[in-house]
């Protein structure tokens, strides 16, 4: 089993353009948004002079001044709460949470205010606010540095939840998030920050908007559904399935890009074509987005399904210490294992060979 950090391109093409990293694309998106709209203000810990611990805001304080890209005191609820006030006054704050788990102190502000202010005021006080959160594991981080909390955000009405898997999407989706009049939780897959792809910062290719999923790889045998850091895993699994040959699966890969709003049309269309699906994500399986996605697909595509929609997710455990994380992360082998259980011979095979399927 191999779940090492994957930094390959997820979009495949664009080989003629110079390679850029996802981090660079995010940085450029922030810079372009700030240049275009003086209402865009960045707030966070260490995002000014230092340029952020992942350097996503590198150079922005210098270029736009410390008021536009502000190092705040160390208090996440305070950061998000003051951003709410700034949005009430017509600004378009973009907040950086340093790591996923360190967004939790701001959870009350996010749920009780950010997600509800527009609704509470019948549109009077919209929240054009973006919360950038580096998430996910695979970078050898010590405890609390590798969480994936998208289940919490996706279960919170009033928020949009998006996450890029490609360099082009990093730019395009972040621009869309900042331009949105709704609050967007923008989840940045940490281990893809250094992933590269051909991408031209001077002419960034347009990408579909928030709410649209994309088929990253067409296939006929089954659909792999992933988002963020799992998309490269799905693509690699699809490659492996073709190359490894024996089974001869031709797997379609759907990149959700946006958990909320959820693109049922694209996902359901794919599953109706293939008749089988596996949802892949890093956050714990129980209560994670995979359940929602699988249930929704099943509701919509029941009579097209040859097998139950399966899920490959992180285990239902706290994120493990670095030396054990490879066992936790859904990797290519585990994805292919699930594909193999999609009842190709119409008999149910338990995961891992035992314990399940009672």
């Amino acid at each position: 089993m191999s779940t090492a950090v994957r930094q390959q391109s997820a979009s495949g093409g664009a080989a003629e353009r110079k390679p850029a990293t996802m981090g660079q694309a995010l940085n450029r998106a922030l810079a372009d948004a700030m240049a275009e709209d003086p209402a865009v203000h960045l707030l966070g810990e260490d995002i000014g002079t230092l340029g952020g611990v992942f350097r996503v805001t590198d150079g922005l304080a210098e270029r736009f001044g410390p008021d536009r890209c502000a190092d705040t005191p160390l208090a996440e609820a305070g950061i998000l709460g003051t951003a709410v006030g700034m949005a009430m006054y017509g600004l378009r704050p973009v907040v950086e949470m340093q790591f996923d788990a360190f967004a939790l102190p701001a959870f009350e502000q996010l749920v009780s205010h950010v997600s509800r202010m527009r609704n509470r005021t019948r549109g009077g006080l919209p929240m054009p606010l973006t919360v950038r959160i580096p998430y996910g594991g695979g970078i050898g981080g010590v405890e609390h540095h590798s969480d994936s909390s998208e289940a919490y955000y996706a279960a919170t009405p009033g928020l949009h939840v998006v996450t890029p898997a490609t360099v082009a999407d990093a730019y395009g989706l972040l621009r869309a998030a900042i331009a949105s009049d709704d609050p967007v939780v923008f989840l940045e897959p940490k281990r893809l920050y250094w992933s590269k792809d051909g991408w031209d910062p001077e002419a960034p290719e347009p990408v579909p908007g928030i709410g649209a999923a994309v088929v990253r790889r067409p296939g006929r045998s089954a659909t792999l559904i992933g988002y963020g850091p799992s998309v490269p895993v799905c693509l690699e699994a699809a490659e492996a399935a073709r190359e490894d040959g024996a089974e001869g699966w031709d797997l379609e890969v759907v990149d959700l890009r946006s958990l909320v709003p959820f693109d049922e049309e694209t996902v359901a269309a794919s599953v109706r074509r293939t008749g089988r699906a596996v949802v892949v994500h890093e956050s714990p399986g129980f209560g994670g987005p995979g359940g929602e996605i699988a249930a929704r697909i099943t509701e919509r595509c029941f009579h097209h399904l040859e097998a139950p929609v399966l899920r490959v997710a992180g285990f239902d455990i706290p994120y493990p210490p670095p030396m054990l994380e490879r066992h936790h992360l859904p990797g290519v082998d585990r994805v292919l294992d699930a594909v193999a259980r999609l009842q190709w011979e119409s008999t149910w095979v338990a995961p891992g060979g035992d314990g399940g399927g009672r």
Partner: protein, 390 residues
């Protein structure tokens, strides 16, 4: 070579960051609350005795407190009549409420908590719109941006970072305004209070935080809430001035807020004000205050009633004749009658509103759910036509 040898002749000296970063003395509140009403010049706190130019203000405060008390009574009565889901009365705290509403300029913003409906009404908002949350027909009944009054805030202290952020944004834009945020004694224990005040001081945001210390957080008395000399003493820990004021003295509250807001507007930064007052009624109509406090305790505060303090001052200054007092009382009755009447009109919020403002555009999922509800309502309409109007 040891570290000492490396240093050679250098004598260890305290680095510059040692010195106090701000002089704490001016930040500390006075030992007793500032008072203005009924105080001879010599006794007055640091802000000094109100000048004689205050006459109009005194009369405005007086009228507003009389109206406010009547408003509180009326709102409480409406809960008994099933016209309000719940009402947290500010009886006893009218001085703070009314001063907060009147002290603000038009451009300023107010951030009230659930108890501060009277402050919003004193600011000039429509009382029916203000009570919408508590009536249960909407989460917020007025146009917050136009009125420059944030929605009444339920989760304690969470409005404070909003107030700071808005004040900061206004300052960044160069707009000449200040923000007044209200919070209770209980709310000062929340982390959001701390984070907001710290941001305010670091940013020198034009914001004033008024703590209405009414002695209780529901049933919990101040002594279980804090061991601090006063809540105003918290200010020094943020590097902003703390002021202690008699919260039943409308003129004193007005003075202290006015001074602090003016300082904020002119770039002088934030202020924390503790107004010592008392919640005369139960926490809300649903609460039973006899479970946790004695009638005697409530009684000790009667002698320091905000309305009595004002009335005495006006009478002593010869500013309040019977005619004026009667007129003010009548106005209060009229307003109460209007409120009663309007609140007795049924409202029937549109169920489709449930989906209208969750996002700027409905998601596909919400469109589907809206259609489902529409179909249900249509079916229901067939079965029980007319029942929709409660």
């Amino acid at each position: 070579m040891t570290v000492l040898e490396q240093l050679g002749a250098h004598v260890p000296v305290p680095p510059p960051s040692w010195r106090p970063r701000t002089d704490p003395a001016p930040l500390l509140p006075d030992a007793t609350p500032h008072r203005a009403l009924g105080v001879r010049d010599a006794e007055a706190g640091s802000a000094g005795r109100a000048g004689s130019g205050d006459e109009e203000l005194l009369l405005r405060l007086y009228a507003a407190v009389v109206h406010g008390r009547r408003y509180n009574e009326q709102a409480t009565a409406l809960t008994k009549q099933g016209r309000l889901a719940v009402y947290p009365s500010s009886t006893g705290q009218e001085a703070c409420q009314v001063a907060s509403g009147l002290v603000l300029r038009e451009r300023d913003w107010l951030f009230p908590s659930y108890r501060d409906t009277l402050a919003a009404v004193a600011r000039g908002l429509d009382p029916v719109e203000v009570l919408s949350l508590l009536r249960g027909d909407s989460h917020n009944g007025y146009d917050a941006r136009e009125q420059r009054v944030a929605p009444l805030c339920t989760p304690l202290a969470t409005q404070l970072p909003h107030a700071v952020g808005l004040a900061h944004a206004a300052r960044l834009k160069g707009d000449d305004l200040a923000v007044l945020a209200l919070v209770g004694d209980g709310g000062t224990s929340e982390g959001d209070f701390h984070e907001a005040l710290n941001f305010a001081a670091v940013w020198q945001a034009p914001v004033v935080v008024l703590v209405q210390n009414n002695g209780f957080a529901i049933s919990v008395p101040l002594s279980k809430q804090t061991a601090a000399p006063s809540l105003a003493h918290k200010a020094v820990g943020y590097g902003m001035p703390g002021r202690l004021v008699d919260g039943n003295d409308a003129l004193a509250v007005h003075e202290v807020l006015d001074e602090a807001l003016e300082r904020a507007r002119s770039g002088g930064g934030p202020t924390l004000v503790e107004a010592v007052t008392y919640r005369v009624e139960a926490h809300t109509n649903a609460d039973d205050a006899t479970r946790y406090r004695t009638a005697d305790e409530v009684e000790t505060w009667r002698a320091h009633d905000p309305l009595a303090l004002l009335e005495r001052e006006l009478r002593e200054r010869g500013l309040l004749d019977e005619e004026t007092a009667r007129r003010v009382r009548e106005e209060a009755e009229q307003k109460a009658a209007q409120l009663r009447e309007r609140m007795h009109q049924d409202v029937a919020p549109d169920p489709q509103e449930l989906f209208a403002h969750v996002y700027s555009e409905r998601t596909p999922q919400l469109r589907e759910q809206e259609a489902q509800l529409r179909a249900e309502l249509a079916a229901e309409g067939h079965r029980t036509a007319g029942e929709e109007q409660r």
